[in-house]
């Protein structure tokens, strides 16, 4: 690293703007902390500036003054509308020493900030767009997830019901009755499994969705008399399940039937029979 005296040797050339880029950079670092060198540099700059007088004086065109006034007025309008009054103070911090940066450091012209602003604006718009797309994808993914979760829950319920049926059927003394569709729904079928404790599980398939305000009701028919069971509806595939307790009166040779009734269920059947285990 160069010492103070080495930097002093560079000052005259720097005042002339003739240092190579690397030297100028290291000297500028030194100048931040060395007021003595800063003051001497100012003097060299004053000397160098006198060289301008060696150039023959020349007159610009008469219109140039008007053009400058125009540009300045536009600049006033621009800075008022864009609030770009920050520039002088930023420049002030950087060049408090009246130092006009060396040509090599001056590549950043006044046009750059506006290009930068445009580029930054574009990036912002692209980010906003990406954000929107991500939000949309996220929303769609959440909907998919909710649908899948519902399907999983439904499937789990079906599995649980089937397991219940299997357990029930495997229990000692358990029985299964097949139900067939009547002329209302010839394609429908079902089964009721029940054990000796009276626990009964119905699984029906091929039933149409009940109209609004209606539901299917299970009947236990004992000795020709229908005893009311619970009501149920079907899912989108036309399947319906139900767990119920058989009335003790129906425990011996029961007949099962499904009718379409008011949604709350009724004490005695009123609607058409859809499924039946009886002849």
């Amino acid at each position: 690293m160069a010492g103070h005296e080495d930097y002093k040797e560079m000052l005259a050339a720097h005042g002339l703007g003739a240092l190579d880029v690397e030297e100028a950079r290291t000297l500028e670092l030194h100048l931040r902390d060395c007021a003595d060198c800063g003051q001497e540099l100012d003097e060299w700059k004053a000397t160098a500036a006198m060289l301008a007088l060696e150039a023959a004086p020349a007159a610009p065109s008469e219109q140039l003054k008007d053009r400058i006034i125009d540009v300045v007025r536009n600049d006033v309008a621009e800075s008022k509308s864009s609030g770009s009054t920050v520039e002088p103070s930023a420049a002030s911090r950087r060049e408090r020493t009246n130092v006009v940066s060396l040509p090599t450091h001056r590549k950043v012209s006044s046009g750059i900030p506006s290009w930068f602003a445009i580029a930054a604006g574009l990036v912002f718009v692209v980010l906003l767009g990406s954000l929107y797309v991500l939000w949309r994808q996220n929303k769609a993914a959440r909907q998919d997830l909710a649908r899948l979760a519902a399907q999983v829950q439904e499937t789990q319920q079906q599995v649980a019901r089937q397991r219940e049926v299997i357990e029930l059927v495997n229990a000692p003394g358990a029985r299964v009755s097949q139900l067939a569709g009547t002329k209302e729904v010839p394609g429908a079928h079902g089964m009721v499994a029940y054990d000796t404790s009276g626990r009964a599980i119905l699984m029906a398939k091929g039933l149409p969705a009940p109209p609004a305000g209606k539901a299917y009701q299970l009947w236990f028919i004992a000795g020709g008399k229908p005893l009311p069971g619970k009501v149920f509806t079907t899912d989108a595939s036309g399947a319906g399940t139900l767990t119920d307790s058989m009335p003790s009166a129906a425990m011996n040779s029961p007949i099962f039937a499904i009718t379409l009734e008011p949604a709350g269920g009724v004490p005695a059947p009123t609607g058409a029979i859809y499924l039946s285990s009886g002849a």
């Binding site: 040797e9 002339l16 700059k45 023959a56 003054k65 400058i68 002088p88």
Partner: protein, 195 residues
């Protein structure tokens, strides 16, 4: 001769410009247009480019007059340094653009300046001319290459086929002599005006 510029100092003009007084900017322009335009024509060899850069310079003066710190130097130095810097910037851009065309710039040089009489600064011109004339030719040459062509010491060494150390020594010696000769001039040698 202009009567008005003699009455308002450069410093006062810069303060007024900092307060966005348009009249102060045109007064400063009137006072220095011949020097600054002459400098730019010398650097750029083109009146058109010189006008373009001079316009940039005065826009810059308009925006940054508040940054001028009179503790650190005179308005003349500030203004000339800014102008030269902008001129060299433009020269480099043009050089990069025209490198392939290899235009006969030297032939243009003689007639490009379109010199006029600058009665305001005639005395100061005379002083700098005498000071430069007193320098050895190689020192004067090095200073001119740096100032008007924007060459660094290394570039000057290559241009002249001289060792870098020699160029550095010549440049330092030339600047020191100039500084001594000009230091003999009154404090208000340039443009500070009354006070």
């Amino acid at each position: 001769m202009h009567a008005e510029p003699a009455q308002t100092s450069d410093i006062d003009l810069l303060h007024a410009i900092a307060r966005s007084e348009e009249g102060a900017l045109t007064a400063l322009y009137d006072r220095y247009r011949l020097i600054l335009f002459g400098l730019l024509v010398r650097i750029l060899n083109s009146r058109e480019e010189a006008e373009d850069v001079l316009q940039e310079v005065f826009l810059q003066v308009w925006r940054r007059a508040a940054d001028f710190d009179q503790e650190r130097g005179r308005p003349f130095t500030w203004l000339v340094t800014l102008t030269r810097s902008r001129g060299i910037d433009r020269l480099r851009v043009l050089a990069a653009r025209q490198r392939l065309t290899d235009s006969a710039a030297l032939e243009v040089r003689a007639e490009a300046s379109d010199a006029v009489a600058d009665t305001l600064h005639a005395e100061q011109r005379e002083i700098i001319a005498r000071a430069l004339a007193s320098l050895p030719a190689e020192q004067r040459g090095a200073l001119r290459l740096a100032y008007f062509e924007g060459l660094t010491q290394s570039e000057i060494a290559v241009r002249l086929g001289s060792p870098l150390g020699t160029v550095k020594t010549r440049m330092r010696a030339g600047m020191s002599t100039l500084r001594e000769l000009l230091a003999d001039q009154p404090q208000n040698f340039f443009g500070s005006g009354p006070g």
